[in-house]
């Protein structure tokens, strides 16, 4: 599958501050790519470069095979950019706002009306067409932002924190809208701090910290990678300290630590079979009320892979 977005050694400096350092990224057509990283990691800078708003210091960024900086004019009709804020004009109603941007994409005449109507319908904003943009709720504004980037039917959507500061209902509605766009075949690059939603929405993710891409690939792979070793949660009915001491003697066990009333048993590298735990505890006279492998989700993976350092 062809890469719609590709960066090669993408680097951006602001004076002495390195915002991006040799970022190599590849997003294929139809992918929904979740961009994860702490604040100040370089997500917005990357998105702004891809949106042709910033020039890389060196390296190359390509969108649909066009090079940012050299072929920006060819890129702009192909992308839809939603920043992490809502750019509102004073005294404009929803329909005017969309018509304004449609005209910016050179869509005029009856075609413009039809597209605006379609987009309003898709984003469920039809009943708000006469409302002043300034007076919309935050959730509505975010939906309007999505509607704005759909008027010219772009191939690529660059969404910077589209669900930031939204209430749960608005977030769920936003997620459903993005799923619908993905079904329509759009390539989406989305940055967000709400990791469970990204895990639900995206098929690939990238984790960035201090301007460096730590990981990029399918969600399942990152979870697997984050799992440094097998960790088992064990619950016993009495004397957890003695049970921990007993398990710690086993040659396959690396460490045993208490965790919220349970025992967190880490196996040594390469060891995955934990059937001995049950037999050893029963033999030691302990009654077991829980034994399961600890789940590693995107949040856990993110916490394990990043160090929480910001620039």
């Amino acid at each position: 599958m062809a890469a719609v977005i590709k960066t090669v050694n993408l680097t951006k400096r602001y004076g002495t501050l390195v915002a991006l350092s040799n970022l190599n990224l590849e997003i294929n057509e139809g992918d929904c790519f979740g961009f994860i990283g702490p604040n100040g990691a370089g997500k917005t800078t990357t998105i702004k470069i891809l949106a042709t708003l910033l020039q890389p210091t060196w390296g190359e960024a390509r969108v649909c095979d066009y090079v940012v900086g050299y072929q920006s004019r060819s890129i702009r009709p192909l992308i839809g950019y939603v920043p992490d804020y809502f750019g509102a004009y004073e005294d404009m109603v929803v329909q005017e706002y969309l018509e304004f941007f449609a005209a910016a994409y050179n869509i005029n005449g009856s075609q413009r009306n039809k597209i605006v109507n379609d987009v309003l319908e898709l984003t469920d904003l039809g009943y708000k067409r006469d409302s002043l943009v300034d007076g919309l709720s935050r959730g509505m504004k975010q939906r309007l932002s999505i509607a704005r980037v759909l008027v010219h039917d772009p191939k690529v959507l660059l969404l910077d924190e589209p669900a930031g500061n939204l209430d749960p209902r608005a977030r769920i509605e936003m997620r459903e809208l993005l799923k619908e766009l993905r079904r329509m075949g759009k390539t989406i690059l989305i940055s967000s701090h709400i990791l469970p939603e990204l895990a639900d929405l995206c098929n690939t993710v990238g984790i960035i910290e201090q301007g460096e891409l730590l990981y990029s690939g399918p969600v399942a792979d990152i979870v697997r990678k984050a799992r440094a070793g097998t960790v088992i949660l064990v619950g016993v009915t009495r004397a957890p300290e003695q049970a921990a001491a007993l398990l710690a003697q086993h040659p396959d066990v690396d460490a045993v630590a208490p965790n919220n009333g349970f025992l967190q048993v880490s196996l040594k590298n390469g060891k995955q079979d934990y059937s001995f735990i049950a037999s050893q505890l029963i033999a030691g006279g302990f009654q077991i009320n829980l034994i399961r492998e600890e789940e590693v989700n995107l949040e856990t993976a993110f916490m394990r892979l990043t160090k929480g350092m910001v620039q």
Binding site: A51, L53, Q55, G87, A104, Y105, D130
Partner: protein, 690 residues
């Protein structure tokens, strides 16, 4: 007792808002630069005045005279700088609620309303007051020479300080009552400029002066006016004890004005000014102190309520969409800015006031005053007799060699069959009319006065238009940078060329209805004169406004506005904040207009330059062009007076030709600035991007 002392301590000296500003005062580089520039200017004035006075220090009286002169110069400069800086330092209060998140936090603390309001006000006025205080040593120089009473120096400082205080109080009141936005800052500056300059100009109008009978029993008029007690520059002039501007004594005032407070206003306008401004400041602060938290809790603004009351806004959150143009940038500049309720109010206000002014002038000018004696087509060539109405005589014979004059110009007998007022006539021994001096019917507003007023009106209108477009242009890009819409536009296929051209087009379209006002004012006078000209068919007909003004005037006004717009856009592109961009571009436009106007009028007035060259150069400045088109005889007499070496027709042709050349020069300037902006747009925006 201790409680009151504690309250007062916490109100001002211990006020945390004020302390934060005072303790940080002098640490900012910008403040230090302004302070140095202020003191540097004062020192420069001292040195310049001393240098100009040369050796005129021969005796104590001469020293005192120089000292008085020095004090006047410094006082005017000090007040001018305070009037300029006070709005800059206090206007920020207008938008503090929106710009700063600290306002709500302050309201949630145990600080009282009075602490918050006074703290905010004094912290904003503090810098200006500190400037004033820093200038005291320089004013002390006048005490070395003598001739200046210490009371005058104190009065001068009080006038300046009270001006700063009332400016700050006004900004705070606007902020508290939620009637201000970022755009209000510009209106605030404009209001203060108009108030100060307007007061000085209106002071010259007789209407504002009192008539009285002086001690000799002769009718006289006060040299000071109603405005003296309310305008700092006029009040300041009073403390200089200028004989041409002395307030009247109580005894000279009409009976109705001899009681307090009228007697105070008229006899001591300087003390009244600073006392009244102090009172006004407190009066404006009092509602803020009482209602601060209650107003902060309200969800509607006074402005919204007012606009709804006058049906300019329905307070709705929705309305019918308008059609967007092909160039959305131009549409936004031209339409959305103009449609906001406040803008609508101001635009219609401007149009209505401007057109009303022009129509009133025309009506006054066309209203003829009934003369004592006049002729009205009453010459009978068959009988060679003339009937003079109002003479109380029947038809009189006309002598064969009758000497007819219209004004100062000789005329033929045909003039007797016209409609003129008769100034004078003589009869020969046979009772026949031998000489007759005729004139146009006197009008309520003479041609000269009509020209002067119309010129004043159009210049004021054009100045306001220039300020409006400079402000709109200067804020056009910075506002998009601030609210984030610029990034949205730059990620679309809109190119820098399309963007800048759209802005320029939209801005000019935005002020076109305003430019139409002075043009329409000129048009109605041209139309009126056209019918008179057809009736008279006189080659030397004196037009109030030359007809060619209908071509050159709109062209020059539009191109000058486009020039101001592109200049403002340059500033808007380069500056990061709207306030800085507006201040820079308005400063440049005002400076350029003042320089061009001053040079233009000097050239028109110059006796060393031939009339045709003067008007040719004058045609390059929009202000002098307006003057040449509307009131040439007063300001460009060398070229337009009959009987001069260059006749008016030549001067008009020269004006027209050089106006066309000037339009070409301005257009080239605009084009080159536009090309430069297009070229540097991406680089400038990216430099600021972070």
């Amino acid at each position: 007792m201790l409680g009151i002392a504690d309250y007062l301590w916490r109100l001002i000296p211990g006020n945390p808002i004020l302390r934060r500003v005072v303790e940080n005062a002098g640490k900012k580089r910008r403040d230090m630069v302004i302070r140095c520039a202020y003191l540097g200017l004062l020192v420069a004035v001292v040195l310049y005045t001393l240098w100009l006075s040369g050796d005129d220090f021969g005796d104590l009286a001469a020293l005192a005279r120089q000292s008085t002169h020095l004090f006047q110069q410094m006082s005017y400069l000090q007040l001018g700088l305070v009037a300029l800086l006070s709005p800059i330092f206090t206007a920020g209060a207008i938008t503090q609620e929106k710009d700063s998140q600290t306002y709500d936090i302050l309201l949630s603390t145990p600080l009282t309303n009075a602490q918050i309001v006074l703290g905010s006000l004094l912290s904003r006025v503090f810098f200006v007051v500190a400037l004033l205080v820093s200038g005291i040593p320089i004013f002390a120089v006048t005490q070395i020479f003598g001739g200046v009473a210490i009371n005058s120096i104190i009065a001068s400082f009080l006038i300046a300080a009270s001006t700063a205080l009332v400016t700050g109080a006004m900004a705070m009141a606007i902020a508290t009552f939620k009637i201000g936005t970022r755009r209000t800052i510009f209106s605030f500056y404009l209001f203060i400029i108009v108030y100060l300059v307007g007061g000085i100009l209106l002071d010259r109008v007789d209407f504002f002066h009192l008539s009285f009978i002086d001690s000799t029993g002769a009718p006289a008029q006060t040299s000071t006016s109603w405005l003296t007690a309310f305008n700092p520059f006029l009040a300041l002039r009073v403390i200089f004890k200028d004989k041409a501007y002395m307030p009247p004594n109580v005894a000279d005032l009409p009976e109705a004005y001899r009681t307090w407070p009228m007697s105070w206003v008229w006899t001591s306008p300087d003390t009244f000014y600073y006392s009244f401004m102090l009172f006004l400041s407190f009066a404006m602060m009092a509602p803020s102190v009482i209602l601060l938290r209650r107003l902060a809790q309200s969800t509607s603004s006074l402005k919204g309520w007012f606009l709804q009351k006058i049906h300019l806004s329905r307070g709705d959150r929705s309305r019918r969409p308008r059609s967007v143009w092909h160039n959305p940038i131009a549409w936004r500049e031209a339409k959305t800015k103009a449609s906001a309720a406040r803008a609508t109010f101001l635009r219609y206000g401007f149009i209505v006031l401007g057109m009303t002014g022009a129509i009133v002038l025309l009506v006054w000018h066309s209203t003829e005053l009934a003369p004592g004696k006049f002729i009205n087509h009453s010459y009978d060539p068959m009988k060679n007799t003339l009937y003079i109405e109002g003479s109380g005589l029947p038809e009189m014979p006309v002598a064969s060699g009758v000497d007819v004059k219209i004004g100062d110009n000789p005329a033929t007998n045909d003039a007797l069959n016209g409609r003129y007022q008769v100034n004078n006539y003589t009869q020969d021994a046979n009772g026949a009319i031998a000489t007759i001096d005729l004139d146009e019917f006197a009008r309520k507003l003479s041609s000269d006065d009509a020209q002067s007023w119309l010129l004043g009106l159009t210049i004021v209108e054009f100045s306001v238009i220039l300020l409006i477009i400079s402000n709109a242009a200067a804020s056009t890009v910075t506002r998009e940078k601030e609210d984030g819409t610029l990034d949205l536009l730059l990620s679309t296929p809109i190119t820098s060329r399309y963007y800048i051209w759209g802005k320029l087009r939209g801005l000019v379209a935005f002020v076109l209805p305003l430019i139409a006002v002075p043009v329409a004012s000129a048009f109605i006078f041209v139309a009126h004169d056209f019918f008179r000209w057809i009736a008279q068919r006189d080659s030397s007909f004196d037009w109030i406004v030359f007809p060619e003004a209908l071509i050159t005037m709109p062209a020059m006004l539009i191109i000058a506005c486009a020039f101001a717009a592109i200049l403002g856009m340059q500033m808007s592109l380069r500056c990061r904040t709207t306030v800085r961009a507006v201040m820079s571009s308005v400063g440049i436009v005002v400076g350029a207009c003042a320089a061009m106007g001053w040079c233009g009028y000097e050239i028109l007035d110059s006796s060393s330059m031939s009339g045709a060259i003067a008007v040719a150069i004058g045609a390059f400045s929009p202000f002098t062009l307006l003057t040449i088109l509307i009131d040439p005889r007063q300001y460009a007499g060398a070229a337009f007076q009959q009987g001069q070496s260059y006749d008016p027709a030549t001067a008009r042709i020269v004006t027209f030709v050089f106006c066309v050349i000037a339009l070409g020069v301005y257009s080239m300037g605009i084009w080159s600035m536009y090309k430069s902006m297009v070229k540097n747009f991406d680089m400038t925006i990216r430099k600021q991007s972070r």
